[in-house]
């Protein structure tokens, strides 16, 4: 008995001495999953709210009133705009810039009222048939959820700025049911930089959100995608043409929004309640003839993917959607731009594909293939996120074959759009609101200097490691140097100067930090405060000196 007791006591002591150490990185990852779950639940509720509102109020209006389709978006636009103008001011707009502003201006702070306001206002605006989408609001709501959880769990300020993108990715991934595209979009547009440290957490949150969303809403995609056909290599020319058309169309779309939005904002403040109503009336009027352009439009994309429409109708729908979306968004009705962009691209792509298939049926696939590629093309042109476009189309279609055509078309559209409208879409919106937010385009335009761009390349005078005190002094004199590098035989480098020689009576032994040519100049700057010159060595062999770098080198490289 005594032996058993002592065994148990021993066991308790041993177990008690083991502690599970959870570091900050692990906590952040766990928090990311929690954010993903919350964001997923919120997006599910948002989706249900939009549909229910659409069925019970708008559907009812449409069936009871002959011209209900005319009235519904006007009413919805008025109510949702009034909500965001009077009650939930932070819930205005699409949500992407508002999220970026929260990250870069407010250090990641998003109040709970923003989530509530966005939820209610966008459910009403989209559910009533206005030509806007739910993805951008989901992004903002996800970021809001992350912000709240970050505050609840007492994250430090430096982490608060990082947590909002995690929620943003979760929100958009769940809304669009494409986790990888969601992650890419947040990296490309919201964070505007590739941050390897954040990718893991963002991906965890996005996947968690998508899992929750699929759990409750099922595995079916937003629209059914038939298997992609690639009929003949010569089709790539048609896809290239689609890229050109998409590039021009996306630039026109962005310019239209910029122009109309600018003009409407200059109107008297009281018109801000009338503008959404008029916009809704216009949407409703167009909707009497083309009901496909109302709301997000996923049903119509589904129908286009199943060859319901002829090429003329597809083009008409694409152009009509551009028109009504411009009007809705510019008038201040809250809601997103993703779905309308995908719709417009789908229809324009399908229209071109249908026309080409008419003339070359043997070598051009049916229009449905072009609907899919068109979505990605237009997305890349409008939002300047080509990687997101390619991956999104791939995730939606689950077809590797589609990657090449969408890559070609999206890249062409991206470059044309950039030429015609250099300012990216969200940056343009931000500037109209008086904000200057970073964008991936901006960062791509600013070259990053690397050490190899600034350093003094080898050969440089290097003192032999076996040199004596007098030889070292003589070496410095002969080369007219005040200091030089010496290699210590083990891949380490030291800085030899007259002062250190005299002070130490010989060569210094303290090795200098090593740098590599591919590192950004920033890495050198952090170390040059304590060291006058630093060695730049080869990654293959640290005894091979590639060059040296000093503050003078950096100043010259930056032309200071």
């Amino acid at each position: 008995m005594a032996a058993g007791d002592s065994f148990l006591d021993d066991l308790r002591t041993r177990l008690g001495s083991y502690r599970i150490a959870i570091g900050d990185a692990e906590r952040f990852s766990l928090l990311a999953i929690l954010i993903g779950v919350f964001a997923g639940l919120l997006v599910v509720l948002f989706h249900i709210a939009i549909d229910f509102l659409g069925w019970t109020s708008i559907g009812a209006i449409t069936t009871r009133l002959r011209y209900g389709r005319l009235a519904a978006p006007a009413l919805g636009g008025l109510v949702s705009a009034a909500l965001v103008l009077r009650v939930f001011r932070a819930a205005q707009g699409s949500g992407v810039n508002q999220t970026k502003a929260a990250i870069y201006v407010s250090n990641g702070y998003i109040p709970a009222s923003t989530i509530l306001g966005k939820f209610i206002a966008c459910s009403i605006s989209i559910g009533s048939g206005n030509s806007l989408g739910p993805e951008d609001p989901s992004l903002q709501m996800g970021a809001g959820v992350a912000s709240i959880l970050g505050r609840v769990f007492g994250l430090p300020r430096s982490s608060m700025r990082m947590i909002a993108p995690v929620g943003a990715a979760a929100g958009i991934a769940a809304a669009f049911n494409t986790p990888i595209a969601g992650v890419l979009f947040v990296m490309e547009e919201v964070i505007a930089a590739w941050n390897a440290a954040m990718v893991g957490s963002i991906l965890l949150a996005a996947v968690a959100a998508v899992v929750v969303e699929r759990w409750f809403l099922g595995n079916q995609p937003l629209f059914r995608v038939p298997s992609f056909q690639f009929t003949h290599p010569s089709e790539l020319l048609v896809y290239a043409l689609l890229g050109i058309l998409g590039g021009f169309a996306s630039a026109i779309f962005v310019r239209l929004i910029e122009s109309l939005r600018g003009r409407l904002e200059k109107l008297p403040p009281w018109t801000r309640y009338v503008q959404p109503m008029v916009a809704g009336l216009i949407v409703g009027a167009v909707g009497l003839w083309l009901p496909q352009v109302m709301g997000a439009g996923y049903d119509a994309i589904d129908n286009a993917l199943h060859d319901e429409f002829l090429w003329r109708m597809l083009l008409i729908l694409g152009l009509a959607k551009i028109l009504v979306t411009t009007i809705c968004f510019s008038s201040g009705i809250p809601g997103g731009m993703f779905a309308p962009t995908l719709f417009s691209g789908a229809m324009i792509g399908g229209g071109l594909g249908g026309l080409a298939h008419l003339y070359w049926p043997e070598s051009v696939s049916p229009a449905s293939a072009y609907v899919l590629v068109g979505m990605g093309t237009f997305f890349a042109g409008v939002f300047r996120a080509p990687m997101t476009a390619i991956i999104m189309v791939f995730e939606v279609s689950a077809s590797y074959v589609i990657i090449l055509p969408v890559a070609i078309a999206s890249t062409i559209a991206y470059f044309i759009s950039r030429q015609l409208h250099p300012v990216p879409f969200f940056t343009m919106l931000a500037r109209q609101e008086g904000l200057d937010l970073p964008s991936a385009e901006e960062r791509r335009a600013v070259p990053i200097l690397h050490i190899e761009d600034a350093m003094t390349p080898a050969p440089v005078p290097v003192l032999s490691r076996d040199a004596s005190f007098s030889e070292a002094l003589a070496f410095l004199d002969a080369n007219r140097l005040s200091q030089c590098l010496a290699e210590d035989g083990t891949g380490g480098w030291t800085l030899v100067s007259r002062e250190t020689l005299v002070h130490l009576g010989g060569l210094p032994t303290e090795p200098l930090p090593r740098l590599y040519p591919d590192l950004p100049v920033d890495a050198a700057l952090r170390l040059l405060g304590a060291n006058a010159i630093l060695p730049v060595v080869s990654r293959a062999n640290s005894e091979t000196l590639v060059g040296t770098i000093s503050l003078d080198n950096i100043a010259k490289a930056y032309k200071l």
Binding site: V37, L41, I48, D51, G154, F216, G218, Q220, P226, L305
Partner: protein, 362 residues
């Protein structure tokens, strides 16, 4: 007992999460139930419209049903069928291909795809899809559906002039036909149309074994025997077909034709010399009448000489004499060849004469 503020906050978060989960689960259930209800309501409305012949409207309502239940194969199939009826084949194909992806062994989908390909004149594709339908999985009535698919394939191949493959399919079909006399008879008639009279005859006899008084099979036996030049057997079978089904006009016609052939045919070994001569004289007379009826006077010098020769022969040689029969046969052949050269293919009324002359020529 959680006392630290951090622990309390964590607990609050998880309580909220649990509540949110519960609310979402309940709402999602209500949402899905509503979607199913709406989908079914639209589907029933679409079915009613389709039954009333308002297909175009029905298609729109089917689409609405699918919008609420995208994975419902029943709705998709109904939409595809309606689209096919409306002639919107590309769209129908699109839906069917999608269904095929999720249910690749479903033979009914393959059959519909084959029908679309056939209508679009994409024959090779249609043939492949018909094969998939024939050998695929049928949820119900596999046997009859396979046969139906087989018949459609044969019809398609016939229509497009691919008689060899059509016959091959028929032979394969004949191996697989069940004990349904209607089906077997149909297959046998198709074999007969494709020139496979012996095989067709086998099948007809097989039908008669299990259905002794099947008039259609008897008719088929008669036609198979007729095709093989066995007119005596053909006449017997036609007679039986008429006995078992007096209203069978084809059998009656066949009987009349074979009777005529047998009355004209001078080749049976059972005939006496006089009897044979009499029949050959009749042939000369009939061929002369046929040539007279269709050839215009002065149409050819050969005919100008032939007709008087034949008339003289008939006048002078009313009774059989040694050596008259070969001369008469030669005359009849000459007359008939001349008739065909000058007047072309003989009409239906001269079909018996044509068959006998062909037999005589052999």
């Amino acid at each position: 007992m959680v006392t630290s503020p951090r622990s309390q906050r964590a607990l609050l978060v998880f309580v909220v999460l649990a509540l949110l989960f519960g609310i979402t689960a309940w709402l999602a259930n209500v949402y899905h139930a509503e979607r199913r209800h709406r989908a079914e309501a639209y589907y029933r409305r679409a079915e009613n419209l389709a039954r009333a012949g308002r297909l175009a409207e029905g298609v729109e309502v089917y689409r609405a049903a699918i919008g609420y239940a995208p994975n419902a194969a029943r709705y998709q199939l109904a939409l595809a069928l309606a689209l096919m009826d409306l002639g919107r084949l590309q769209e129908a194909r699109s839906h069917l291909l999608e269904m095929h992806e999720s249910d690749p062994a479903n033979a009914w989908i393959d059959l519909l795809l084959a029908r679309i390909s056939a209508r679009e004149e994409r024959i090779d594709e249609a043939v492949s899809e018909y094969h998939q339908a024939i050998y695929g999985l049928w949820p119900r009535d596999a046997g009859s559906n396979r046969i139906q698919a087989g018949f459609e394939l044969v019809d398609l191949l016939e229509r497009t002039g691919r008689t060899g493959p059509a016959l091959a399919e028929l032979l394969a079909l004949s191996e697989e036909t069940p004990q349904d006399p209607t089906v077997q008879t149909r297959v046998a008639f198709l074999l007969l149309e494709h020139g496979s009279a012996p095989r067709a005859s086998e099948l007809f006899l097989k039908v008669l074994e299990s259905n002794p008084h099947n008039a259609a099979a008897a008719l088929g036996c008669g036609e198979a025997a007729f095709a093989q030049g066995n007119y005596t057997s053909a006449e017997n079978w036609f007679r039986k077909a008429v006995q078992w089904d007096p209203s069978n006009a084809e059998a009656a016609q066949g009987l009349a034709e074979t009777a005529e052939i047998r009355s004209l045919d001078p080749t049976p070994v059972t005939l006496s010399a006089a009897g044979r001569y009499e029949r050959v004289r009749t042939l000369v007379s009939r061929t002369l009448d046929a040539l007279d009826a269709c050839a215009a006077p002065g149409s050819s010098a050969e005919i100008e000489n032939l007709i008087p020769d034949a008339e003289e022969f008939l006048r002078k040689n009313r009774v059989h004499h040694e050596g008259d029969t070969p001369r008469a046969v030669e005359l009849a052949e000459q007359l008939w060849q001349a008739r065909k050269q000058v007047c072309g293919t003989p009409p239906k009324s001269e079909e018996a004469l044509d068959l006998v002359m062909a037999k005589v020529a052999k």
